[in-house]
Every structure is written in C-alpha cells, then in structure tokens.
C-alpha cells in the first residue's frame, strides 16, 4: 500500500452519541452515532511508520496517553465506548462505514455504560505476613534440631497452603465487590517488576458502577478494615472511561 508524506488518516478514539459535544477533537457523525476522531499524518501513523514507532517507548507512551486523555475528557460528560489504541482509517468514509456496520454493537455498549463509571481496585498482600499468620508456632519443649526441622516443615506447608488460600481470598474479595457493581472484570495481577512494590498484587479488578454511587468504595473500606491484620491492603483508582466493559469480541468477527 502506498503512502505519501502529506496523506492523512483518521485515528478513532471511541464512539459517542451524535449529540455529544467534544473539544479538541473532531466528531464524524452518522445517524445517531459519532466517532471521536483526530486526523493524523500517515508519515507518522501509516502502517510501516507505525511498525517502527511502536518500538519507540517514549512515542508509544505519549500516544497511548493521548488516547487515554481524550477518552477521559469525553467520559467526564458523555457515555463513550472506548476503542483500543491504534484504530486508524484511511478515509473519512471508512469511519462512517464503521458506524454503519457496527452500529448495533456500539448502541448496546453505550447503553451498558451510560451514567456509569469504571473503578479499578487493586488488592495487595504482604505474603510473608500472610504466611506467618497461617504457620503454627514452634513448640518450645522440642530439641533445637527437631524444632528447626518442624519449623521448616511448617513453613513449607504454610507456603503451599498460603498459595491456595490466596487464590480463594482473591476470588472471595472479587465476588463481594462484584455484588456492589453492575459489571465486574478480574484482570491478571500486574507483576512485581511492573508495580515496583514489595507486596504481591492479589487482585487487579475493574468494576462498573453508577456514577456517584459510593457503595463500592464503602465496600472496599469495610474489607480493608476486616483484612488489614492479614497483611491485605486495597487501592482504588479512577473513575476511568469504561475500557473494561465494552468488549464485544465474544462470538463476533
């Protein structure tokens, strides 16, 4: 496919209703829907150029943050269906075509997220403390050697038991928080290399809640109080645009 330095493409951030007003970006309307777009230089966003840029960490971070930033601003005032980063069309007519062919999906997704926000909840665990709370205290009467052996056995058993308990704990916490939300997703916990924290991320979840509804936050506060002594702590992020709650891939092309 040929591309010239002056050609422009259409980068699509997300979908809103046609009546939405959004500053700083364009709307391409079709019927009752509109795509939030920005014209981009294909010298930067063309297929070949993009291949290279994607390996440029600073560029990717900036561009991904802009994508997030636009959606964040729109979501503060309108129901919005976020698209994944990097959806770029050749022609404006391709964008109207998208609104036409996927209109039903977009309407259903808008309905699902209307007047709702995504909150992130991360649950952290101090594993040493948690395992310690499961381990039996060593018996004082034993000889030093035997006490050592018993302690080792205890520690190993506690570690294995802790792994199972942690999985159960994560599922239990997620179930309790899900009951306070309209929709819920548990994503894979981020690894320590990424979080840079000593604690292990036990749960990395997102919840869709009615805008202004504080039940989930209250629920988190309650769980925090109940589980603190086991070495469990909670973190809430957001409100986010509903990135986690618009996936229509299941059973669709």
């Amino acid at each position: 496919m040929s591309e010239t330095a002056t050609a422009t493409g259409w980068y699509v951030f997300g979908i809103v209703e046609a009546g939405a007003r959004v500053d700083g970006v364009e709307l391409v309307r079709n019927g009752d829907l509109a795509a939030i777009v920005s014209q981009v230089d294909l010298a930067e966003f063309g297929h070949e150029a993009l291949r290279e840029r994607l390996n440029d960490r600073a560029w990717l971070e900036d561009t991904a943050l802009r994508h997030a930033d636009v959606l964040q601003r729109v979501a503060a005032e309108h129901a919005v269906v976020p698209l994944r980063f990097g959806t770029i069309y050749d022609e404006r007519s391709d964008v109207t075509g998208l609104l036409e062919t996927r209109g039903d999906d977009f309407r259903a997704a808008l309905e699902h997220v209307r007047d709702r926000v995504e909150l992130g909840v991360k649950v952290w665990i101090d594993r040493a403390r948690f395992e310690h709370s499961l381990a039996d205290a060593p018996e004082h009467e034993e000889s030093a050697g035997r006490a050592y052996m018993l302690r080792k056995q205890n520690e190993q058993r506690a570690a294995a038991e802790a792994a199972e308990r942690l999985a159960q704990l994560a599922q239990g916490l997620h179930a309790q928080l899900s009951a306070l939300a309209v929709d819920a997703v548990a994503n894979r916990p981020q690894p320590r290399e990424l979080t840079g924290r000593d604690e292990t991320m036990l749960l990395n979840a997102a919840y869709l809640v009615p805008r202004g509804d504080t039940r989930l936050e209250a629920g988190v506060a309650g769980l925090q109080a109940a589980y603190a002594e086991l070495g469990v702590s909670f973190e809430i992020t957001g409100p986010w645009p509903p990135h986690n709650f618009v996936d229509t891939r299941d059973g669709r092309p």
Binding site: A64, F85, D94, A167
Partner: protein, 102 residues
C-alpha cells in the same frame, strides 16, 4: 480517589501501567476493512518492550501477564493463552516467536 490520568508532568509508573493496560489491551477491537490496524501480536510485543527495560527481563516475566486467568489457576490460564496464541498465529500467518512479523 486519585485522578485516573495526570497527563502533563507524566503519571507515576504504576499509574502509567494502569493506563496502558486499559488503552493497549481493552476497549473495542475493530477488525475488518481497515487499512491500518495493529495486529494483536504486535501489541503483545509492544507491551513487553514498553513495560520492561530489557528483553531478558521480559522473558523472565513471561509474555502472558495480561492474559489468562486472573486468579493464578495455572491450567485455565495456560489454556487461554494457548488459544489466544493459536488465534494470533492464524490471523497473522506468523509463528509467535517471529517478532519482526516478516
């Protein structure tokens, strides 16, 4: 509650990870008659390069931290990853290890 995005001045690394996790991995995926789109397999590669300093570190982490079962249930996590990789291979006509996509 912290703001989800502090654009200028740059978010803290942990927050950046939250943003990227959403923007690169979530949201509706459009497939079809798009002239320019990112293949999923490219994004997988991107995530790794983005989030870790070196390729070695990425291999240590495994490429699947964003995929699979959230509750560390290894069996189902692996199956999900395998399915995904198979799908990506078909879609891209590539072997997963072929990073440059040639």
């Amino acid at each position: 509650m912290s703001s989800a995005l502090q654009h200028r001045g740059g978010p803290a690394p942990a927050q950046l990870a939250d943003v990227l996790e959403r923007v690169l991995d979530k949201g509706i995926v459009i497939a079809g008659d798009i002239q320019i789109n990112l293949l999923d397999i490219e994004l997988l590669t991107v995530k790794l390069r983005l989030l870790v300093a070196s390729a070695d570190k990425a291999r240590e982490m495994g490429i699947d931290w964003w995929e699979g079962d959230a509750f560390l249930s290894r069996r189902s996590g692996d199956r999900a990853l395998e399915d995904r990789l198979r799908r990506l291979e078909q879609k891209a006509g590539l072997k997963p290890s072929d990073e440059d996509g040639r």
